[in-house]
């Protein structure tokens, strides 16, 4: 089977898993309901946005490769989230021993870290039509910077979940993720502002 078909099916399974776990969470502990609605909706919303906004560009092969990578990432993140929350709910409902709760959270944390490493590693090779259109001169440097930030952040998250107690690892993961996102988005913002201030010379 082609990689894009596998990615599509895995992403669908992951989104369905997150939805099922969110529904289960709502049944078990409905208050406040918005957290379960948020949990069930953010991943399919992100996926729908990426699918709708992704332009195929002049080369359909490039668009297909980019979407395959995005779908694998959505699948990986969705499965990590479903494992983390699912194990927590199963322990709450006495379906799993409480001793297994930290293990489930560690597995979810390690999946998140490895997902970031894999996606970050490929990010600089993805010539997204958005980037090439909006920043034809700088997209490469922005993607390289964001790729390195994600890979190093992913390695850091894996190390945190291997070395720290669960509560400390969860707290530090949130902080590290926020830092990585600020760095990646900040680099993009710097590039956009620099282009507005001093537009690059037109290529012949």
């Amino acid at each position: 089977m082609r990689a894009d078909r596998i990615a599509l099916r895995l992403a669908a399974v992951a989104v369905a898993s997150v939805g099922a776990v969110a529904l289960w969470g709502f049944v078990v502990d409905p208050d406040p309901a918005f957290r379960w609605v948020l949990m069930a909706s953010w991943l399919p919303a992100l996926w729908a946005f990426l699918e709708a906004a992704q332009e195929r560009g002049s080369d359909p092969e490039v668009g297909r490769r980019i979407m395959t990578m995005h779908r694998f990432t959505i699948a990986w993140i969705g499965l990590a989230l479903a494992v983390q929350v699912g194990v927590k709910l199963a322990v709450h409902e006495h379906m799993l021993s409480a001793e297994l709760a930290p293990l489930g959270r560690r597995i979810g944390g390690l999946m998140l870290g490895t997902g970031l490493i894999v996606f970050g590693n490929h990010l600089p090779t993805l010539r997204s039509p958005w980037s090439t259109r909006t920043q034809p001169f700088d997209w490469q440097r922005v993607h390289r910077f964001a790729g390195w930030a994600l890979v190093l952040g992913g390695v850091g998250i894996c190390l945190l979940w291997l070395a720290l107690p669960v509560a400390a690892a969860a707290r530090a993961t949130g902080q590290l993720l926020a830092l990585v996102m600020i760095l990646a988005v900040g680099r993009k913002a710097v590039s956009v502002v620099a282009r507005l201030v001093a537009p690059p010379p037109a290529r012949p």
């Binding site: 590693n121 010539r127 700088d138 440097r141 390289r144």
Partner: protein, 104 residues
């Protein structure tokens, strides 16, 4: 992976990747920055393309090259540059001994 190591083991190809790291360049612009013949440069480009480290975009008669390095390949490039792999001017123990002999 073998093709990647082969591509990164040559200082000229590493310099090409370094130049492309600053932005896309045409084959002519790249060739102008080296004192090498066009067929030799073309050979280097084809090794880099084979290793999937660069992408060629053809518009009319102009070929523009873009970098296509993953983070891992970027790190390997950094190591290859730091240790000057395949660089005949890089200091080695043998050359250091020869140099010391000449100095003495």
């Amino acid at each position: 992976m073998n093709t990647v190591f082969k591509a990164l083991s040559d200082p000229t190809r590493r310099r090409v990747l370094q130049l492309l790291g600053e932005g896309p360049l045409t084959a002519g612009e790249l060739a102008d920055r080296f004192e090498l013949s066009k067929p030799t440069m073309s050979g280097h480009f084809s090794v880099l393309r084979e290793a999937d480290l660069i992408v060629a975009e053809k518009r009319g008669t102009t070929i523009t090259y873009h970098l296509k390095l993953s983070v891992l390949e970027d790190a390997l490039l950094g190591f290859a540059r730091a240790f000057r792999l395949g660089d005949e001017t890089a200091p080695t123990p043998e050359r250091a001994v020869e140099g010391a002999g000449r100095a003495g």
